[in-house]
């Protein structure tokens, strides 16, 4: 749906159902250089199971207007502003990669608004090497290609997809290319500059589900495990053979794990 937030028209995927502000919202937060299409196999799935799904495109991403935000803290504030604008009292925030940093920061600073967390392929810090940062500024298509390659696990590199006929790498490249040209650079810089993850995690008492990928080369599983260890009310699922793009690579398993968690 189209939505006016502050001075920007944004797009929010609602899984093909009209958003009815009816209890806890399920807010799906995409990662660096991604957009709502990260959640193509989650938003519709959960919307048709009665969840109030909101999968927004951050500014400058996907179908949202505006310029990309500069910091993880700004993104967390933006998510809360989004909830305010829709009169949503509480939400379960589910983040992927950078979206995990946003979810953690929001949960720590706005505990009354965040009921629980789903953290997929995340970590408490996501440092980005200088080469990739430079590439995202000077050679965007190469940066996209590199991230799409690193971001997918071995099955995805064989184009073995649960969606008949689809190529993970082809789709991943095109998805990232559809964002504002500055989106990836802003996102990677925001991730690289964010140092508040550990302190934020220490404040989080809400239930947390961490879904991690054993073959993750973007946020290696050891960092995801450390994230889970630092969250006092967390549980974890580690999926073998999958890469960083878990929502696409293992949609059924991710959905099952999230659904069990949300059913409590």
């Amino acid at each position: 749906m189209k939505h006016q937030l502050l001075d920007t028209q944004i797009h929010i995927a609602t899984g093909g159902r009209s958003f009815a502000n009816d209890g806890e919202a399920l807010v799906l937060l995409h990662g660096s250089g991604q957009n709502h299409l990260t959640w193509v196999l989650q938003s519709r799935y959960f919307a048709y199971r009665g969840f109030q799904v909101l999968a927004p495109d951050f500014p400058g991403h996907g179908l949202s207007g505006g310029m990309p935000l500069d910091s993880i803290e700004d993104m967390a504030d933006w998510v809360i502003a989004l909830l305010d604008s829709l009169d949503v009292k509480t939400a379960c925030l589910v983040g992927h990669s950078q979206g995990c940093l946003v979810a953690i920061d929001a949960a720590a600073r706005y505990p009354e608004r965040v009921s629980r967390l789903g953290l997929i392929a995340g970590a408490l810090a996501i440092p980005v090497n200088d080469q990739l940062l430079t590439m995202s500024d000077k050679a965007l298509s190469k940066a996209i290609s590199v991230m799409t390659s690193w971001g997918h696990g071995p099955m995805a590199h064989m184009h073995d997809n649960t969606q008949p006929g689809h190529s993970f790498l082809g789709y991943g490249n095109r998805l990232m290319a559809s964002n504002h040209a500055n989106a990836l650079r802003h996102d990677l810089t925001a991730c690289n500059n964010y140092s508040g993850g550990k302190a934020a995690a220490a404040k989080i008492t809400q239930p947390v589900l961490c879904i991690l990928a054993a073959s993750d080369r973007m946020t290696p599983v050891k960092f995801g495990t450390a994230m889970a260890d630092s969250l006092i009310n967390s549980e974890r699922v580690i999926m073998t053979g999958a890469g960083h793009m878990l929502p696409a690579e293992r949609p059924a398993e991710v959905n099952d794990a999230l659904r069990r968690f949300l059913a409590r």
Partner: protein, 434 residues
């Protein structure tokens, strides 16, 4: 995994990882119509495109999906959908994109069935086409109307071998906010990857070089994922509410794969042009050797061009790799590995000499196919293009004496000896004419 797999590796592996239970190295043939649902919720989720998976082989099938994913990987697309034939791919793609009152700008120099479909069949459903010489870039641009929904053409025209400048036509299409769809049967992704030059959709007859063995008919539509269906109001059934699935908006929900989502949900669902799993398996066997075969096709084509151009019985030879072809420089630039393995030529004795030649060769097969591993010959004016009008034949560059040759993989000395025999048999007409 140290990086993305290369073309030769993808030809062998893409789309398939051996399953844990059986470990079948070869792609299994899932010869089934249907799939047992886990429960009613699972069934509903598949119908509603909430999850990937298979529900009925008319819509998708695991063996066919391997083929689709392999084609998508080789082309660098976001997705591919396989169909029962190349014509099924084209006709379904056109019907998924176009509605009554819409218009298409198309190359005038194409396969006879492609022209027939656009010239004679689609107008009955209110979809009209302007045919333009593919080298006339100005004419293509001027032919675009407010209701034009795509530009269509063949990279290497059949059988005239006209070359379309994909990059230039892609820019015209992009400027007009419409997709460029190409029939890439003759070039295959081994010779050219048109998405890299700005094409948006690709149709293939997989029957030809990609299958290569002449045992299975099949086609595919490949989605480049590089066209913004929401940039204007030309595609309301993709970027607006669709009748299916509670008014689904394919553009918003599936992004770069919006066309494929609609093709699957409407094209496969309503028209049912599905490829059989066994045919998909056969085509996959061919794909495994596509790079090897294409190299050999190009090698033998180069030898054949030299042979024909130097032969006394031959009146004329046309191939984009020959310097006198109008698309020679363009073909060299777009397809440095070669411009395909189809050659057209005429004999000095004209049509009668050609007929005698075709009936006299023994190794080369006289049949209505191209891209087979075996060498093939045919007289297009009386066969593959006989259903198009005399005007369209002239417009398409077809002459009455034209022989279409699909160069195969045999030892070239044997093909040469076979052709020498055919030329000797046809020589009487040359003498008569002299």
């Amino acid at each position: 995994m140290s990086g993305d797999y290369k073309f030769d590796t993808l030809s062998l592996h893409a789309g398939h990882v051996p399953d844990e239970r059986h470990g079948s190295r070869a792609v299994p043939i899932h010869q089934t119509t249907s799939y047992v649902f886990q429960n009613t919720e699972h069934a509903a989720a598949l119908y509603n495109q909430e999850l990937g998976g298979h529900l009925y082989t008319r819509i998708s099938n695991p063996t066919v999906a391997v083929l689709e994913q392999r084609v998508a990987a080789l082309e660098g697309g976001v997705a591919a959908t396989a169909t029962a034939s190349g014509m099924a791919a084209l006709s379904t793609a056109l019907l998924v994109l176009c509605s009554q009152g819409d218009h298409i700008v198309s190359s005038s120099r194409m396969y006879g069935a492609n022209i027939n479909l656009l010239e004679n069949t689609l107008p009955r459903f209110g979809i009209t086409t302007s045919f333009i010489d593919p080298s006339d870039l100005d004419g293509i641009e001027k032919a675009i109307q407010p209701n034009t929904k795509m530009i269509f053409g063949e990279v290497i025209g059949n059988p005239g071998l006209d070359i379309m400048d994909v990059e230039a036509v892609g820019k015209i299409a992009a400027k007009a906010g419409i997709p460029l769809m190409l029939d890439c049967t003759f070039n295959t992704p081994w010779l050219l990857k048109p998405f890299e030059l700005g094409a948006n959709l690709i149709v293939h007859s997989l029957t030809k070089w990609i299958g290569g063995h002449g045992v299975a008919i099949g086609g595919a539509v490949v989605d480049g994922g590089n066209f913004d269906w929401g940039q204007n109001d030309k595609f309301p059934t993709i970027a607006g509410p669709h009748y299916a699935m509670d008014g689904i908006n394919f553009y918003e929900e599936f992004g770069p794969a919006a066309f494929t989502a609609k093709f699957r949900a409407e094209g496969m669902y309503n028209f049912g042009p599905s490829l059989s799993p066994t045919n998909a398996f056969h085509i996959l066997q061919g794909m495994e050797t596509l790079p090897l075969r294409m190299q050999r096709h190009m090698d033998n084509t180069a030898k054949m061009l030299e042979f024909l151009c130097g032969h006394d019985a031959v009146a004329w030879v046309r191939h984009p790799n020959l310097a006198d072809h109008p698309g020679h420089e363009l073909a060299k630039r777009m397809m440095p590995r070669g411009a395909g393995s189809i050659i057209v030529f005429g004999l000095k004795g004209g049509r009668d000499a050609g007929r005698t030649f075709i009936e006299s060769v023994e190794l080369a097969s006289h049949l209505a196919n191209v891209g087979d591993a075996k060498t093939l010959v045919i007289h297009p004016a009386s066969t593959t293009h006989s259903h198009i009008s005399a005007e369209a034949m002239i417009e398409g560059g077809l002459s009455d004496d034209m022989i279409r040759l699909s160069v195969g993989l045999e030892d070239f000395d044997d093909i040469k000896a076979d052709f020498e025999m055919g030329f000797r048999a046809a020589a009487k007409f040359t003498k008569t004419k002299d």
